[in-house]
């Protein structure tokens, strides 16, 4: 439909795009370019022309420019006068941005991304538990104890869906209870790894008895205000988690970003 004007100056036929509509053009453009860059379809150094992107995405210049500006702020591309839009090397990307993380998890960088997140968790959660023991509000401590008990119950009963829910909430509460905004911001990523682990069948059928105990240890230590104990118990959980997951990324090469001489 909309054949109103035969072969208009631009042969772009926006009206015939029957898909989408759910999300804005801007959102789609960011998503399209982001996934292709992070996924590796557009290699480092690849140069695109804004006009070319207009045609490719069937959108106008404003949409392309706003999308490019966002990708620029994520460190995915840079714009150079008289040259075009250039894809930046991966070490320039902001590895903490939720969009970048999501795109990496969806593409070929999935293994390396999961490893990075797991290592970050293993670093942060023990410290978060320690801080929570010192700072968390009373209600949070009590909920934590309650959840750890419910986790044991669900674990012993083999109710894995319920266990997963509780597990997610447990770790979210620890991160939140630290009172550190950066730690709390990792809740989303942690949730992602926990669900991913279950979805991809990397979880044992029953949670380890030890792990259940460690979760209770963390909760009770936080409740009692014992930071060192909370930290050590959380560290044990993390060590076991890494041990469970590491086979899935053993083949991923590590990247060592050069440190500038200044």
């Amino acid at each position: 439909m909309v054949p109103v004007t035969l072969d208009p100056p631009r042969r772009r036929l926006r009206a015939t795009m029957l898909t989408s509509m759910s999300t804005s053009l801007h959102h789609r453009a960011v998503e399209h370019l982001g996934t292709r860059i992070v996924g590796g379809a557009l290699p480092t150094g690849h140069v695109m022309l804004a006009e070319h992107l207009e045609d490719e995405l069937n959108v106008s210049r404003s949409v392309v420019r706003e999308a490019v500006r966002v990708l620029q702020s994520l460190g995915l591309v840079e714009t150079i006068k008289r040259v075009g839009i250039r894809v930046l090397p991966a070490h320039r990307w902001n590895p903490f941005d939720p969009l970048v993380i999501r795109w990496r998890l969806a593409g070929e960088g999935r293994g390396a991304q999961l490893r990075s997140l797991a290592e970050l968790r293993s670093a942060v959660e023990p410290v978060a538990a320690e801080l929570a023991a010192g700072n968390a509000p009373e209600s949070l401590r009590q909920e934590l104890v309650g959840i750890s008990l419910a986790m044991k119950e669900a674990g012993d009963a083999g109710d894995m869906p319920r266990f997963l829910d509780l597990d997610i909430r447990f770790h979210a509460l620890v991160l939140s209870g630290s009172g550190n905004e950066m730690f709390a911001n990792l809740i989303g990523q942690v949730t992602e790894t926990l669900t991913g682990r279950t979805v991809h069948g990397l979880m044992p059928e029953h949670p380890q008895k030890q792990a259940l105990q460690w979760h209770m240890d963390v909760a009770h230590a936080i409740d009692a205000g014992d930071g060192a104990l909370a930290r050590d118990a959380a560290a044990k959980i993390m060590r076991q988690t890494i041990a469970e997951l590491s086979p899935s990324w053993d083949d991923q090469p590590r990247v060592f970003v050069p440190v500038s001489k200044n």
Copy 2:
């Protein structure tokens, strides 16, 4: 309609803007809005109109729109049809974005931001040292040993500027040597806290003898591939660092982000 002339529809006089020019309008707009939001001048929930921003910044719609899109991707604002551009609460901001961090350090959130960064460092650096012991390339290990020795030299000699440079490079190498992209990405923030500590006179005149030894311990442990030793030595450095700095943020209230019920 729209009486064409009559009292210039826009009294914007862009041409008279004799200042700036060094940076793009887009950059300035992002910076202006970002600092005012993060700095607290524009409170949570505050609603702006795009047109109003055009007048305020003396720029066109494209510049405002592109800037707003970037701020949106940082979680600082949301745009709502028929309402305007609304400032989001702080817990929606991306606390890992370099722009957000810089704006917080420049504004009233400085103390809380420094604490967050220090706690993040204290969590990450020991794990990074442990990973570096297992993964870092040979050349990096050797440079690390050399730097730790030079640090001791500069420290004993009381050459603080040189010590600061070496200190920064030392911690950057540890983070880089971990082979974890997220850790490596924290180099900039760590550098910021290290220089800030010196600039604000929070450093002792001579580095602690212990700290010098710990740095050497970390370097030698990484060089020898002893992860546990590297981790523990790095943890000691971090404990001392936190102890030195914590007085400067003791009065900052902690914020506990609520955890959604799902």
